[in-house]
């Protein structure tokens, strides 16, 4: 197997100038013997692997009763293993004779022989593709069901922990709450504001182009106002926070789990729900609405900038139309979603973190799951909100 990823300069030369390995069957005192020559080491045996393979798998057998090592060069455990396999395949029982002098052959064969197992046959999967597909669908269905039940259970535990914290505020851990607020909330202001500004501007541009065909360019103000306030600001903020902060929640808690810090907390009488989950839920609960407000303002400024600079709508007129035709109801319909999204995302991120096992793979898998689940749930819940608002004529 040639490794293509290693640059040629780093290609490993055999440590010692090696002579190519080879073998023959010779008669020594009328006994057929396997006579290897050249170097049989981990570096060289690959050269004769194709010649050896039929003998190793038992498809062909050497009629050798022992090994004549007098012409053998360097030998190591890998070489000794292969030599032994060759001879062992040819005689079902009994000890092979060793003939000739070699500094290490006897010692190495002694070392290797007890550890040489017959090559295990790989059991191929003979099921048809349809069965495999059904198998996978079934497994996935069961997994989704379990995942949903587990998530609901975790939501319940979080609510209990939150309720306890509200009843007895002394239980709250202020230091982690403020620390999470800073890293997950405050530090996200620039990215949320920048992206929302651009979204607002893009909506204004796209809207203006289409509305201009009806001579209704001025309705760009309503388009920007309603779409940013109702949907874009809160959804964009939630998605950014899911990617930026929710993944951090999972990674932090997961790394603590791998380091047994969670176990240490439990033994010290500290509840991980109080220490890790509640602070994160509270921090997002406070900061997602603030970030949404920032996103709304930035989005309106972005849309307004396009309106003023490109569509010849004066700033005063922009604000007037915003006030008269959009109204505060859209602000509240958008803002009302923020705390709901906050709780959903914090719970998903913390839960995935606590589910991390003892290996790095699960850390990566759960971080991915946290972000995917958070974005998925945010969009599903947003659709539910839209339907509820529709029924309420908001």
């Amino acid at each position: 197997m040639t490794d293509t990823t290693t640059p040629p300069a780093a290609e490993m030369p055999p440590p010692v100038a090696a002579r190519p390995p080879g073998f023959a069957v010779v008669a020594v005192e009328d006994v057929p013997m396997l006579a290897p020559h050249g170097d049989w080491t981990v570096w060289t045996i690959a050269q004769i692997e194709t010649d050896l393979r039929p003998y190793l798998t038992g498809e062909a057998a050497l009629s050798a009763r022992g090994i004549d090592v007098s012409a053998l060069g360097a030998l190591d455990t890998a070489g000794a293993h292969v030599l032994w396999q060759l001879v062992a395949a040819s005689q079902s029982a009994g000890i092979a004779a060793l003939y000739g002098d070699h500094p290490t052959a006897l010692r190495l064969l002694d070392e290797v022989v007890p550890h040489t197992h017959p090559p295990a046959a790989l059991v191929p999967d003979t099921r048809s593709i349809a069965i495999k597909l059904l198998d996978q669908i079934g497994e996935a269905t069961v997994r989704i069901g379990r995942e949903t039940a587990d998530t609901l259970e975790f939501v319940g535990r979080t609510v209990v922990a939150l309720a306890k914290a509200v009843m007895d505020p002394r239980r709250l851990r202020w230091l982690p709450i403020v620390a999470v607020m800073e890293s997950a909330g405050f530090n996200a202001i620039p990215i949320v504001a920048t992206l929302s500004f651009f979204i607002g501007a893009v909506v204004a541009f796209m809207g203006a182009t289409t509305l201009a065909q009806f001579g209704a360019t001025v309705f760009t103000v309503e388009l920007v106002g309603i779409s940013v306030l109702r949907e874009f600001a809160v959804l964009l903020t939630a998605i950014i926070i899911a990617g930026r902060s929710d993944s951090a929640f999972t990674a932090q808690i997961g790394a603590m789990k791998m380091n047994q810090e969670i176990d240490a907390m439990r033994t010290l009488g500290l509840d991980p729900m109080d220490m890790l989950v509640v602070p994160r839920v509270i921090a997002l609960l406070v900061w997602l609405p603030i970030l949404t407000l920032v996103a709304m303002l930035a989005g309106l400024i972005g849309g307004g900038a396009v309106a003023v600079l490109q569509l010849d709508i004066s700033p005063t007129y922009f604000l007037y139309r915003l006030q008269e035709n959009v109204g505060v109801v859209h602000f509240w319909t958008g803002m009302a979603k923020a705390p709901v999204f906050a709780v959903i995302m914090a719970i998903i991120g913390c839960r995935q973190g606590l589910l991390v096992g003892n290996d790095v793979i699960s850390l990566g898998r759960n971080t991915t799951a946290a972000v995917v689940q958070a974005i998925f749930m945010v969009i599903v819940v947003d659709a539910i909100f839209a339907m509820v608002y529709l029924e309420l004529d908001l």
Partner: protein
């Protein structure tokens, strides 16, 4: 021929007879000097146990020898080659001739034990998949693991099994030198004793040079030909256990004569 009971850190022998030769090695972290003018020779085929109190830089020295952290000054020669050479071929050759077992195993957690052992074989040799598997299983068995362990992930292994799996990976390319960082730390005495016996057996059959860092007095007694003591930024004592023990001073005296030392060494 210098016998393995030499009592000096440096030995008057040719490069060909030493496995590791350090001259004037210094390691500094900013203003903090860990080693200064450190000299050491390790003969081929001997097992040395490196001891020293916390912060004497046992791991830092190991990292300098195996090419992970460059020494601030001084020369390092392993098997006559320089692990800090500018020539990538020299370094690559060297990497195929030593095996390193880290303290917690440092197994690749995404791979099974067998795949872990196959990594160096796959990267450095041209073996086909069947032979790779066979050689990997041989090493796993030689390291004292049952054949069924090959399919397990590192997270499914106990501490002792993880160390054995790491040893199997370190042995994959039939190295000439084996570096072991605290091989028996965290193991129960019986498993630790078996590990010592395993290292001894491998050393005698494969003719390995073993450089091991340990705090375990049983390991020093059972597995090491010579003890190397790190203190005061250099090698302060070297020699067979009995010699080092008789001439122990300071930290070393406490180490050997404390209750644990007396219990282990009598």
């Amino acid at each position: 021929m210098i016998s393995a009971d030499a009592i000096t850190a440096t030995l008057p022998v040719d490069d060909g007879e030493v496995a590791i030769r350090l001259r004037g090695v210094a390691n500094r972290f900013g203003d903090h000097t860990i080693h200064e003018g450190l000299d050491l020779d390790v003969l081929r085929g001997e097992t040395v146990g490196v001891v020293g109190g916390s912060g004497t830089g046992k791991s830092v020295l190991l990292r300098a020898i195996i090419g992970l952290r460059a020494p601030s000054s001084g020369s390092v020669r392993v098997l006559g080659l320089d692990p800090w050479s500018a020539d990538p071929r020299e370094v690559a050759t060297l990497r195929g001739r030593w095996g390193v077992m880290f303290q917690d195993g440092a197994l690749f957690s995404a791979l099974t034990v067998r795949e872990n052992v196959m990594v160096p074989l796959k990267e450095q040799t041209d073996m086909g998949p069947c032979l790779l598997r066979e050689i990997a299983d041989l090493k796993i068995s030689m390291a004292g693991l049952p054949a069924s362990a090959g399919d397990l992930l590192p997270s499914e292994l106990s501490g002792g099994m993880r160390k054995r799996a790491a040893l199997a990976r370190a042995l994959a390319l039939d190295p000439e030198i084996l570096f072991l960082d605290e091989p028996t730390a965290g193991l129960d005495p019986i498993t630790a004793g078996r590990f010592d016996a395993l290292v001894n057996e491998l050393k005698s059959t494969l003719g390995l040079t073993v450089y091991l860092i340990t705090h375990d007095l049983d390991t020093l007694r059972d597995a090491c030909d010579r003890i190397i003591v790190l203190a005061d930024r250099r090698v302060t004592a070297a020699g067979p256990l009995d010699y080092v023990r008789e001439h122990a001073e300071g930290w070393l005296a406490d180490y050997f004569r404390g209750p644990r030392g007396r219990a282990a060494l009598g």
